[in-house]
Symmetry: C3
Subunit: 161 residues, 3 copies
Amino acid sequence: MRMHYCQQLLTEIKYVAIMKSKLINDGEQKTFAIIFDQGDEVVETLTAFANQTKLKATQFTAIGAFSDAMLGYFDFAIKDYKKIPVNEQVEVLILAGDIAIYEGKAKIHAHVVLGKSDGSTIGGHLLYAHVNPTLEVILTESPGYLKRKSNELIGIPLIEL
Amino acid sequence: MRMHYCQQLLTEIKYVAIMKSKLINDGEQKTFAIIFDQGDEVVETLTAFANQTKLKATQFTAIGAFSDAMLGYFDFAIKDYKKIPVNEQVEVLILAGDIAIYEGKAKIHAHVVLGKSDGSTIGGHLLYAHVNPTLEVILTESPGYLKRKSNELIGIPLIEL
Amino acid sequence: MRMHYCQQLLTEIKYVAIMKSKLINDGEQKTFAIIFDQGDEVVETLTAFANQTKLKATQFTAIGAFSDAMLGYFDFAIKDYKKIPVNEQVEVLILAGDIAIYEGKAKIHAHVVLGKSDGSTIGGHLLYAHVNPTLEVILTESPGYLKRKSNELIGIPLIEL
């Protein structure tokens, strides 16, 4: 019975990030350092952090490195992202984005430029990525709100002020 | 008479941006979210916003997408920017810059990295660009001043502290 | 005697940066504009500034141009950076990084994307670079601390929270 419970639990645990965060400024704006660890997936983990922390209007930048990533290029014809896989170790030259509320939950919007071993670069909208060995994010939350709304004409939710 | 007035008015209206802004932090530093709309030209619109808002020392970062852009690479020989046209839909992987006062008015200085449909990148000094479908700018104004002064030796105005 | 003293002094003076800084926000967070001048080396100069100013947890972004740079791509096999030299005038499309304490002193961690005369890009971890004609850095210090610790497994010091 106990064995059965454990097996069920192990099946349910798909992924546990070991990312850590520290509030380095606790004022009108809150600034967090978020340090991702080897194997952490960035978009899912940052979204979970944003929801747990109930982040309001937020911006972030980051540097570090990924073992792999899936980038996107928005294709107006199909109203979706064309996928651009990156299957090699890359430096994260710049990861920048914002966090707004969409349908009651935090939605990360991030773009990234990655550097290969010869210094050549590849970039796009960040769909997902795995950290190796670290990603150093500095994230600043403002007291205002930003909200996204669905836009059927375009195909992606846009921030509406 | 009225018709004539309207024709004159239509001739004078060359461009109306539909960019919107929201003050998301109103403290010692002011932080604005600025959301550009389809067709907005970035440099002219942001300069107009900076002048209307009388922005002091300001920095900004942005992500989004452009339908086209004109980039520049500073050529010391001609003391001007060599033009690099971008005539395709691109992701704005990172747009970063500052705003300082030059000859009594706001001057935007921005550099950009753009991503094409295959993830390849192109970048430079931002001369102008048209947004499609959105550009999400987070802009922070500090209470200090930054001023540019003409530099005849170099050929472009530099920030002097 | 005086001559000898002067010669000794000139031998000792290897490098004097003419970078200038201005505190543009003096609040819970401190924001500095740092304007580098022609010939200034970025990493050494910014490290010296961080130590003199006793900067706590700090992030920065910058745009400008370099006459040359040495980039790095971290190679796990040798636990060190593979060097990627850049021997031409390039636009600094984005320079982003953080400053943390490592073994009692400030340590800069910065990544950069550079743009060549045709708009093509090259990027990596910033080992060193010389400014030409300017580099405009906006640097924000938070009151918290960030510390790096040696990590023998990886080969580079990582931020530990």
